[in-house]
């Protein structure tokens, strides 16, 4: 589904990605974990072409994405704590996104309903709290029923209730066979959802393993324990 072939990226004199080679098969739910500054966000950005790798290539559903843009219609991306144009209302942001993907007819408004976003559609983005903006981001990611979900620190800033709603939504989509990549620090919340783990450190992939393999290797149930054992 998504394969990154030996991609490397350098910002100035800092090597942020070093020969990163990962594979995401369809239907997988991958946890992208690692310490701060390990290159998780850059990897995600490379998949979305926000960052253009110095070498290597990204294969999306069998095709090199270099110079392509239409493939992103199949991706639902939820960025890490983002800001929106201050003077747009939530409703306007939604309608702008719908405007961009005019061809997409079946909209998934489940999350919008659960977060009761429509009631505050008239509010301007500039007046919203971080958590509220995060909810908007989550709704946008799921809105177009994408094949692949890329969620960057999805629960950061969300209250526990909203966080749980989001988690249930991810599980539901996983059950429908969607491919999901979640980057997160909070390992505990990933336990029930994921099928695979990619661990990154200093711009390199330390390992990519299925959860089952990890369990067998470490004889642990909790993801955080497994990781701790492997790293040690």
């Amino acid at each position: 589904m998504i394969i990154t072939e030996h991609i490397s990226k350098r910002f100035g004199n800092q090597q942020v990605l070093k020969d990163v080679h990962i594979t995401c098969r369809p239907g997988a739910c991958i946890a992208l974990i690692g310490p701060n500054g390990s290159g998780k966000t850059t990897l995600i950005k490379s998949i979305l072409q926000m960052v253009i790798p110095d070498s290597g290539k990204v294969i999306f559903q069998g095709e090199d994405i270099r110079g392509e843009w239409a493939y992103r219609a199949k991706i639902g991306f939820m960025p890490q704590m983002t800001r929106y144009p201050e003077n747009m209302t939530i409703g306007e942001v939604m309608s702008m996104m719908i405007d961009i993907r005019k061809d997409q007819k079946n909209l998934d408004e489940e999350l919008i309903d659960q977060y009761q976003l429509k009631e505050i559609y008239h509010k301007r983005m500039g007046t919203l709290s971080g958590g509220m903006r995060q909810k908007v981001g989550a709704c946008l990611a799921f809105l177009f029923q994408p094949d692949i979900l890329i969620l960057d620190e999805p629960t950061a800033g969300l209250d526990p209730l909203s966080s749980e709603i989001l988690k249930q939504k991810i599980l539901k989509e996983k059950a429908r066979g969607k491919t999901t990549i979640i980057s997160s620090h909070v390992l505990s919340e990933l336990d029930e959802m994921i099928t695979d783990v990619i661990y990154m450190q200093d711009g390199q992939v330390l390992f990519q393993k299925s959860l089952r393999d990890l369990e067998q290797e470490t004889q642990e149930v909790k993801l955080s324990k497994m990781i701790a054992k492997i790293i040690a």
Partner: protein, 255 residues
């Protein structure tokens, strides 16, 4: 064709600074025209606003807007959109709203008080300078990663085009006073859009003085249809080239 520029315009038009800019322009233009006995003094004040304030506001506002929109740009980039489309939309959004702000705040007032070719020339030059300095701001923003550096670069660019460049030209004029450098000066003036706009307006405003002296040489160029077309062509290039450069750079930029 994607219509995100419509959404961008809708966002910028409601920006407090743009509204403030429009109101200040309106206040300034109405007061200079109604307080002065003759419209020519008002026009002179408007000329200074167009040559100084418009480039400054466009540069700084556009640079800040681009920095503040970096996350919004990221969000757009995660959508099935070409980078081209995104950059174009932001540019069209900015020039439409800033152009509209200029036209409502100053352009209309000028046309009401000076419904002549001179008034039209002031309006056209004001709009073109709006476009040019927005394009330059986009280039400044795309070239620098840091917001403070970007704003600093814009201010330096403004100082250069509005003041330093003229100082250098004046110095050259005194240095080479004994040489026939009129034609060379025409070429030099093309290198600064503010100067070019100023000379085009000068040709309408001070036509009597320009008929005399060396003025005739400038008049022979800037006063003819061909010269005016070349001048406007050059001003258009001043929009196109910085924007094209910023677009090229944006296509390769990591966000």
């Amino acid at each position: 064709m994607n219509k995100i520029y419509k959404h961008v315009i809708a966002d910028i038009i409601r920006n407090r600074i743009v509204i403030f800019y429009t109101l200040i322009l309106l206040l300034a233009s109405l007061s200079v025209f109604s307080l002065e006995d003759t419209s020519s003094k008002g026009l002179l004040s408007m000329l200074n606003i167009i040559l100084m304030i418009v480039p400054l506001v466009c540069l700084i506002f556009s640079t800040i807007y681009m920095y503040n929109s970096s996350e919004f740009i990221e969000l757009l980039l995660s959508q099935p959109l070409k980078r081209n489309t995104i950059w174009w939309s932001l540019f069209i959004g900015l020039i439409t709203s800033l152009g509209l702000a200029f036209f409502v705040g100053a352009g209309l007032v000028i046309l009401i008080f000076e419904p002549s070719f001179l008034g039209l020339m002031l309006d056209i030059c004001g709009l073109l300078l709006t476009f040019i300095f927005t394009a330059i701001a986009l280039l400044a923003a795309v070239l620098t990663k840091d917001k403070a550096k970007g704003i600093g670069l814009s201010i330096i660019l403004w100082l250069f085009y509005a003041i330093i460049f003229d100082g250098i030209v004046l110095f050259m004029l005194f240095q080479w006073a004994d040489y026939p450098i009129e034609k060379f000066m025409i070429v030099i003036s093309m290198l600064n859009p503010i100067d070019l706009a100023r000379i085009l307006i000068l040709m309408q405003m001070d036509v009597s003085a320009l008929m005399g002296y060396t003025g005739a040489i400038f008049k022979d160029f800037f006063g003819t249809t061909g010269g005016i077309l070349i001048s406007f062509g050059t001003l258009m290039l001043w929009v196109i080239i910085p924007f094209a450069c910023s677009l090229r750079y944006f296509k390769k930029k990591d966000l």
